[in-house]
């Protein structure tokens, strides 16, 4: 219990919210809107996985929303040109990986602080995209939505893809050497280096991985409707970071669990629809989300003061 206290308390908050909804607004659990809501969160979940690795490595990437937007437009234009979805997916992931590699090189290679580097790339990609696309939607051909499957089957495919990816990543972080190296570098890069780990290589790697995952997420997003909005991805970085923080990932690196992030994302993503179903005015949404994040950070602060376990 002690080891997973944080994950369990976030899960308890989520269950409590769901019980309240079941009592007051059972319509929340209607199948069609429920599936739509879960499907809509799959891109955010995939990006949150990548973000978690970056934060565990004691870095941050606030450019991921802009990367997502660029990847969505790349994927949208290629899909609109009639290319098969496998090519679209690879190109979008390659574009994301390239942007991630630039961040990684500036941070790991030149030793620049990641908050400044990714602030600069965030604005650069965002403005370049605006210049290029002028806010215009991209119309996709008929067979792209839901990979050409029926709506419900398409949604289940997307949800399954994201959950499988999460499971694999969680397993790898625990059982593979590379996963444990990320924790080691985030805890103490110098000690990791002395132990024979290459901290620069690991740091570069997590940025590239996050970029590639942003590309994957963008492709899984464009198949959900017949038009691509180039502004998609705005605010995604905050969503991913918030999910990680609420899910118990330490902002100063070295500690965190992907299942915790999963529950954190579900909790944050349930607050907004819950307000609609409980007929509470939208003015409260941001305030409540902010409060949840604040609670998580305060809990972390108290725990580290008490010198709790890593």
């Amino acid at each position: 219990m002690g080891k997973y206290f944080r994950e369990l308390s976030v899960a308890a908050a989520l269950v409590l919210l769901l019980v309240v909804l079941a009592g007051i607004a059972p319509a929340f659990f209607e199948l069609q809107p429920l599936l739509s809501r879960l499907t809509a969160q799959t891109p955010a979940l995939i990006v949150a996985v990548g973000m978690t690795l970056v934060i565990i490595c004691r870095q941050i990437d606030i450019s991921v929303g802009s990367q997502f937007g660029v990847c969505a437009v790349v994927a949208g234009l290629l899909a609109a040109a009639g290319l098969p979805l496998s090519v679209v997916l690879l190109a979008s992931m390659a574009a994301g990986a390239a942007m991630g590699a630039l961040n990684g090189w500036l941070v790991a290679g030149l030793g620049l602080p990641s908050i400044v580097v990714t602030l600069a790339t965030m604005v650069t990609w965002q403005e370049a995209l605006r210049l290029f696309q002028q806010g215009k939607f991209i119309n996709l051909p008929a067979g792209v939505q839901w990979f050409g499957l029926a709506q419900q089957r398409g949604q289940l495919t997307l949800i399954a893809t994201a959950v499988v990816l999460l499971t694999c990543a969680a397993w790898a972080m625990k059982n593979l050497a590379a996963g444990r190296h990320v924790y080691a570098v985030g805890t103490d890069a110098e000690a990791a280096r002395l132990a024979g780990i290459n901290p620069r290589g690991i740091t570069l790697g997590v940025f590239i991985l996050l970029g590639a995952l942003a590309g994957l997420a963008a492709t899984l997003n464009i198949v959900q409707s017949p038009q691509v909005d180039p502004k998609a991805g705005g605010g995604l970085e905050l969503k991913a970071i918030a999910a990680a923080v609420v899910g118990g990932v330490a902002v100063n690196g070295g500690r965190g669990n992907l299942w915790g992030v999963f529950v954190g994302l579900l909790l944050l993503a349930t607050i907004n629809p819950a307000l609609t179903y409980l007929h509470v005015e939208a003015y409260w949404e941001k305030a409540i989300q902010g409060l949840v994040i604040l609670l998580a950070v305060v809990a972390d602060g108290i725990r580290s003061r008490k010198g709790g376990a890593k």
Partner: protein, 338 residues
């Protein structure tokens, strides 16, 4: 370390300056050899490559050809208030007769426009106004009251004047949209007692977020008869949610948006009405009004302006009104490509 990060930031910033810095010289503007000086009208869009302003230009060209005037059309590639000032200064040096500007920043451009007026160049604004002392007339495409009333009346028409409806807006703080909402609610109270506004949701000006909000609204309010989207990405977002919920036709969708982004949904019967002004007419009226101000035939105090083929336009104070917003639907949407 600190210095490095500063350099990185500076590099990123100077990259923008370079991107926005290339400037086109005014083109055209030959003098009429047949004696009298030809009028040169300069038209400034908020940004050049955007469909909306490309359509404004189309209407403007038609008016300029009709008047036998030269039309200069230039603007920032991206919305950029500083670049707008540069272009205006270029036109002042070149010596145009009249400038018609859509202002990105109300206060930011007023000094440049006032300097133009000091040199004897007439100034009108359209689409978005500057401060009132920096121009003689504002060509107003739609008043907040006109937009609010048209949206509410159309929602009432689509639902038979009864039932629940919800609004999707960009943000709860956007001042123009709050102004529209105020008029929507006033009209609702005044004319449609059997209709009820059950919720208002922000979508952060994103289509996907609007789709999620609409999905939740459709199931949280089972008696919902109509979704009203008052920012442009929310119209296709709401339509996609209605389509995915299998409620096309049962729940009406209307909103303020571009015909091109909504054509497929309108044709499929998911979205019933898209509301906007006729953008081409805005360009036409702007040039007609600019020419009339320059020729001295349109002066302060006028109550009406004859805009030729699009008819007589009302003037309120120093605003030339384009008239009621236009409703795009299944019957007419094919004729519009912006």
């Amino acid at each position: 370390m600190k210095r490095h990060s500063l350099i990185a930031l500076l590099l990123a910033l100077s990259a923008f300056a370079l991107l926005g810095g290339c400037k086109d010289a005014p083109s055209g503007g030959s003098n009429n050899s047949a004696g009298g000086k030809k009028m040169t009208i300069a038209l400034l869009p908020k940004s050049k490559g955007n469909q909306y302003f490309a359509t404004v230009e189309k209407g403007a060209r038609a008016a300029a050809t009709e008047l036998g005037a030269d039309l200069l059309y230039d603007g920032p590639t991206n919305t950029d208030p500083a670049k707008q000032n540069e272009i205006v200064e270029g036109w002042v040096n070149y010596g145009v007769t009249v400038i018609a500007a859509a202002c990105e920043n109300k206060e930011g451009i007023s000094a440049a426009l006032k300097a133009a007026q000091d040199k004897g160049i007439k100034v009108v604004t359209y689409d978005s106004d500057t401060t009132t002392d920096a121009r003689s007339f504002f060509v107003n495409q739609a008043t907040a009251e006109g937009i609010g009333n048209t949206l509410m009346d159309e929602a009432a028409r689509l639902t038979g004047e009864e039932g629940d409806f919800a609004i999707i807006t960009a943000t709860l703080t956007a001042s123009n949209m709050n102004e529209w909402r105020k008029h929507i609610e006033a009209r609702l109270k005044e004319k449609y007692p059997k209709m009820k506004l059950v919720d208002t949701k922000p979508c952060d000006d994103q289509k996907d977020k609007a789709q999620q909000e609409a999905t939740n609204l459709l199931s949280a309010y089972p008696n919902l008869k109509c979704l009203m989207a008052i920012c442009s990405p929310a119209v296709p977002g709401a339509a996609e949610a209605v389509k995915q919920a299998g409620k096309a036709g049962a729940v009406k969708v209307l909103g303020l948006g571009l015909p091109s982004e909504n054509k497929a949904y309108v044709k499929d019967g998911v979205t019933q009405s898209v509301i906007l002004w006729k953008v081409e007419d805005l360009g036409y009226l702007t040039i007609k009004a600019a020419a009339a101000v320059a020729a001295g035939s349109l002066k302060a105090g006028a109550a009406e302006f004859d805009a030729g083929k699009i008819g007589k336009m009302e003037i309120q104070g120093d605003n030339v009104l384009l008239g009621k917003p236009f409703i795009f639907n299944k019957e007419n949407i094919d004729g519009f490509d912006f």
